[in-house]
């Protein structure tokens, strides 16, 4: 029984492996969570990469060769390791793009590193991804530290002036879901707030699957929090806004860290009148000044044409931008070996305001893009509009939460 089974498996694998050779194309790996709880934004992220590749193929491909995407699906780190192995060995891709989820990225990039295959991170924000001294792991998007710093700095630079208040007089509540995303971002928030001597009155972790956030809200209410920094996914964002309204808690400002704050679904579920005025620090979204982010409008049009809906969040745009950067580098590299690609990547030098996300590109010694920062956005009239930095802004920031 066992023998037969194994033989069948082995034969299947061998078949898969042999098929990988025959084509005259360049394969690239796309490792995202396509199933499980992270599937929504994993898929949204993938669409950005997919559009970038299609665009490139329409324009003649990578140095004349057609690019073929090979998807890898992982919901946990062991699967990420497996899929990374499959992509690097069975599919023999020269590079892998990914990943949206930080824990998957941490596991998968380790495989790529040891295989000498460049791993291009386009969306995961955990800082250690590019702090492990790896040679072949590069990232275009900002990290959780950038998010946290932007959120805290926004209190000083945007919220306090808008309220005509001294930033140090504002009581700050930090709440976050307790997975990797929330715990990392909130950790940096606390450090930054301390550095800037701001007054943090509560730090409350909770489970994103929770069905009741009223204890959190009542704690914030009791502590008299003026500004709430929330790092959350979609479900808990919806819950927070709904229950905040139910409990009559009205802070002066709420700042989200992307995630659930950035999706249209959230706004619809919460009701646009309720989310009005909520601030959000995230990758650039679509209501960004095109002057500062050339190509953003074209991207939205292409997305609309291909998928029949408006982009669900900025993840696709960020992945699109990053994919283009790396595809350019691959085109410039003398061959598709890891070292050549890495060399080309390190040569990339794009000033701020010249990509579809408005970021520039310059990699440091860890291969982390240094010319990036998340933007500050605000929900206004059912749209997430960029309000900071000034050159990317399309609207002025308002104060207050909710319309009533």
């Amino acid at each position: 029984m066992k023998v037969v089974m194994k033989a069948a498996v082995a034969a299947g694998l061998a078949l898969g492996a042999s098929q990988a050779f025959a084509q005259e194309t360049v394969k690239v790996g796309a490792l995202y969570p396509f199933s499980g709880g992270l599937a929504l934004l994993g898929d949204e992220s993938f669409r950005g990469l997919e559009l970038a590749i299609e665009e490139r193929n329409a324009a003649g491909g990578l140095n004349g060769k057609k690019i073929e995407l090979v998807k890898g699906d992982a919901v946990d780190p062991n699967q990420a390791v497996g899929e990374a192995r499959r992509l690097t060995s069975v599919e023999k891709v020269p590079v892998i793009f990914g990943t949206y989820s930080s824990s998957l990225s941490l596991a998968a990039s380790q495989v790529a590193e040891l295989a000498g295959i460049p791993y291009f991170e386009l969306g995961a924000i955990s800082d250690p991804i590019t702090e492990r001294g790896f040679k072949y792991v590069c990232r275009t998007n900002p990290t959780s530290k950038d998010f946290a710093n932007r959120m805290v700095d926004s209190i000083i630079e945007a919220v306090a002036p808008g309220l005509n208040a001294d930033p140090k007089s504002l009581k700050i509540g930090i709440i976050h879901e307790d997975s990797l995303y929330g715990q990392t971002v909130s950790g940096f928030q606390q450090a930054r707030a301390k550095e800037k001597s701001l007054n943090v009155v509560e730090t409350l972790p909770y489970s994103a699957k929770s069905v009741d956030l009223t204890p959190v809200i009542l704690r914030l209410k009791s502590a008299g929090a003026d500004v709430v920094l929330q790092t959350s996914y979609q479900n808990d964002t919806v819950l927070f806004f709904r229950q905040m309204k139910d409990q009559g808690f009205k802070p002066k400002a709420v700042i989200g860290a992307g995630g659930g704050y950035s999706t249209r679904d959230t706004a619809q579920a919460v009701g646009t009148e309720n989310i009005e005025g909520a601030l959000n620090v995230d990758f650039p979204q679509y209501r960004t000044n095109p002057q500062a982010a050339p190509g953003i409008d074209e991207f939205v049009k292409k997305y609309q044409a291909k998928y029949g809906t408006a982009p669900r969040s900025g993840h696709s745009l960020t992945n699109y931008m990053g994919a283009n950067v790396f595809l350019d580098a691959m085109a410039a590299a003398k061959d598709l070996k890891g070292d050549a690609i890495k060399e080309a990547v390190m040569k990339v030098d794009i000033p701020v305001g010249r990509t579809a996300t408005g970021w520039g590109v310059k990699f440091n010694e860890n291969c982390q893009n240094t010319r990036v920062s998340p933007f500050l956005m605000q929900w206004q009239g059912g749209e997430l509009v960029t309000v900071f930095p000034a050159e990317a802004a399309v609207a002025k920031m308002k104060t207050g939460i909710g319309t009533n």
Partner: protein, 290 residues
């Protein structure tokens, strides 16, 4: 003090939600003796059904309750008839894994059909805040509490007075004796499982106005429901209700006074202690060590 009262109110509201979900599990786990890990997925299926009825035919969720309860009854009966019953003779552990497989299949089916997006229905009538003094609750929550009380009382009445209810109780107490008395045990199990699922159908109609549905929504509820059922003493419908209220209040209070991310630790700890020291449930109705 104000906060405490508000927390208690929230706890009771939460408890009534757990109660409706757990009463169904009491029937399935307590009577049919199946550890149904797909219970949460039944809720998910129900909520998608309510969503579809609302989104495409504009049905109010509370109206959708009727067809959804029937749908879930059918789903539950089919699961018992075609998945659980063939396994009755096998190792009891096998059933657990059949339901795990079912749960995996259903979650992924939802992902396949609906994607990972959130779907929610806007039902303003269920989201009106009702204020009593300084305390607030939602109309939907009050409705949920009322339904929980009616459901528990109704089921109790059904179990005590109808022939079918008595047959179910007899089966629960002693399967073989019931068999000897001419009760068609297999059919009783199919009906009971169906009823348990139907309760979840009601729960999904009541939850839909308050929570958005995703493929994984069920996973959160299933463990809580097991805690409630064991706390309540396995087969007691009243026990499940009281257990649900306790968990709801513990959930609410520990989230505030201890830490929001540790509230599950608190009620799982209570669960373990009850199992170890009072395995018959809080009220001595059940038999945890049998």
């Amino acid at each position: 003090m104000d906060v405490l009262v508000q927390l208690l109110i929230n706890g009771i509201m939460l408890g009534s939600m757990y109660a409706i979900i757990s009463v169904g599990l009491t029937l399935i786990f307590g009577i049919v003796r199946v550890v149904n890990f797909a219970h949460g997925e039944f809720l998910m299926v129900g909520m998608y059904a309510v969503y579809l009825l609302g989104a495409y035919w504009g049905l109010n969720p509370y109206v959708s309750a009727v067809p959804v309860i029937i749908l879930l009854f059918a789903l539950g009966s089919l699961v018992q008839r075609f998945i659980i019953q063939p396994l009755l003779g096998a190792d009891e552990h096998i059933q657990i894994f059949a339901t795990v497989g079912l749960s995996t299949a259903l979650v992924n089916l939802a992902l396949l059909v609906f994607g990972a997006d959130l779907y929610s229905l806007t039902v303003p009538s269920a989201r009106q805040a009702v204020s009593v003094g300084d305390y607030t609750m939602l109309t939907g929550q009050i409705f949920m509490l009322a339904c929980a009380v009616i459901l528990v009382a109704g089921l109790h009445f059904f179990m005590q007075t109808t022939a079918l209810g008595r047959a179910i109780r007899a089966t629960a107490q002693n399967r073989n004796a019931a068999l000897l008395m001419g009760v068609r045990v297999d059919r009783i199990y199919v009906i009971t499982f169906g009823l348990g699922a139907a309760c979840v159908g009601l729960a999904s109609a009541l939850l839909m106005p308050l929570y958005p549905v995703t493929p994984t929504i069920g996973t959160y509820f299933v463990l809580t429901a097991f805690v409630v059922v064991v706390l309540g003493g396995m087969r007691s419908i009243y026990g499940a209700f009281v257990g649900a209220m306790i968990i709801g209040i513990v959930d609410s209070l520990s989230g505030y006074y201890i830490a929001p991310d540790l509230k599950e630790v608190v009620y799982f700890a209570i669960f373990i202690l009850i199992l170890i020291f009072k395995p018959t449930g809080l009220f001595g109705f059940g038999r945890g060590t049998e």
